[in-house]
């Protein structure tokens, strides 16, 4: 009599457990973030396509050279590097909140969630200043032989070729797509930061109300953390596409 012992090839897919060894909510958060990555990717690739189709594009070092309270000092990339640093730092405090959650350290989670929310708010404030500066900026632009004063909006781009006019160097209108892409993509990202701040605030309140302590785990903090890190991840690419290259 021969007994054939049928060994299951893998224990992961035989049912009764999550084959990916994560909870449903966390897995779905990952798939949401993947689809969101495609949304942002589509925006950025569309921007790249239009930019590649133009002979001239605005020089980011020229456009983004302002700093709060610094007047007209030429400081290329300075302000945006501070914004980047704020977002990286708030990502670190988020990781530390998740870590405190693993240790069931409610006070630690609260502390680091407050830091993360403050980081998000600081980033949003920086972006508000940057947008205001661009939109209300006053640049001399030569249009049909006369000087006009333009800010950067979705319909006006004062960052075109520079020409000599009456002995001074003035700009001509640049590709109109610049403002639309810049405000569209950084705005979509800023909206993600805003919703991240709201989600983190809800998590902070739930932590303070001891909801997670009673539940026995802080997995909701992990899920909010995934979203927050994704926002940081997207900024890394926005920073590359709009400010660096």
């Amino acid at each position: 009599m021969e007994t054939v012992a049928v060994q299951p090839k893998t224990k992961l897919w035989t049912g009764g457990r999550s084959p990916f060894n994560v909870s449903y909510g966390k897995l779905m958060m990952w798939y949401f973030l993947m689809s969101d990555a495609f949304t942002f990717g589509a925006f950025l690739i569309s921007y790249g396509t239009i930019r590649f189709s133009q002979n001239f594009w605005a020089d980011p070092n020229h456009v983004f050279n302002a700093f709060p309270f610094a007047g007209h000092t030429n400081l290329p990339l300075a302000f945006v590097s501070i914004m980047t640093f704020i977002l990286i730092l708030s990502s670190v405090t988020m990781v530390l909140a998740v870590h405190a959650g693993h240790n069931m350290d409610r006070k630690g989670v609260e502390k680091y969630m407050v830091f993360t929310i403050l980081g998000g708010l600081a980033f949003l404030s920086c972006q508000a200043w940057e947008w205001t500066h661009l939109i209300t900026g006053d640049h001399q632009v030569l249009v049909n032989g006369a000087i006009q004063h333009w800010g950067t909006t979705t319909t006006h781009n004062p960052w075109g070729h520079e020409v000599m006019f009456n002995g001074t160097e003035v700009a001509t209108p640049g590709p109109i797509a610049f403002g639309g892409y810049f405000f569209g993509i950084t705005g979509f990202h800023g909206f993600h930061v805003f919703s991240g701040v709201v989600i983190n605030s809800v998590m902070l309140i739930k932590t303070r109300l001891r909801h997670f302590e009673e539940r026995g785990h802080y997995e909701m903090i992990e899920k909010a953390g995934l979203y927050w890190h994704f926002v940081d991840l997207v900024w890394v690419f926005v920073f590359l596409c709009f400010y660096l290259i």
Partner: protein, 143 residues
């Protein structure tokens, strides 16, 4: 009793190592960002010069892109703990994203051929585009 103590001690050790790893990643990301800024300012000075070298600028832009990919890797694998998940899960996230390789290549190529079409067949384009077209001798001067 001593067993319990050693377990908490081990846990504590793992804890400290984890926090250390987080801060190490933070410094790594900051240093990479600082290098990126340095390259950005180098591109700025090259553009300001009398004869910007397009190949050199392209090389620096490529370097920044590679550094950005490194930053993305560290954020996803350490901060988002994707590196700690099991392989199958990692693959279901990463493999679909490989489509981006084709997206980026195809669409940038498309944009570039639009530019070439505009520059070479100016008179065959609709009137509204002709007005916005910069003459062909500008081609390749500025990226």
């Amino acid at each position: 009793m001593s067993q319990v103590a050693s377990i908490t001690l081990d846990h504590h050790h793992a804890d400290v190592a984890q926090v250390k790893k987080i801060w190490k990643t933070f410094w790594l990301l900051s240093v990479i960002t600082a290098i990126e800024l340095g390259i950005g300012l180098t591109i700025y000075t090259i553009h300001k010069g009398a004869h910007p070298n397009p190949t050199l600028v392209l090389m620096f832009k490529g370097m920044v892109s590679v550094l950005t990919m490194a930053k993305a890797f560290y954020i996803v694998s350490v901060f988002m703990h994707l590196g700690d998940e099991i392989r199958n899960l990692i693959m279901t996230i990463v493999v679909p994203l490989l489509l981006f390789i084709w997206f980026i290549g195809a669409f940038l190529y498309e944009g570039n051929s639009w530019k070439n079409n505009r520059n070479t067949n100016v008179h065959t384009r609709p009137a509204i585009e002709q007005q916005q077209t910069i003459p062909a001798e500008e081609k390749g001067k500025k990226d």
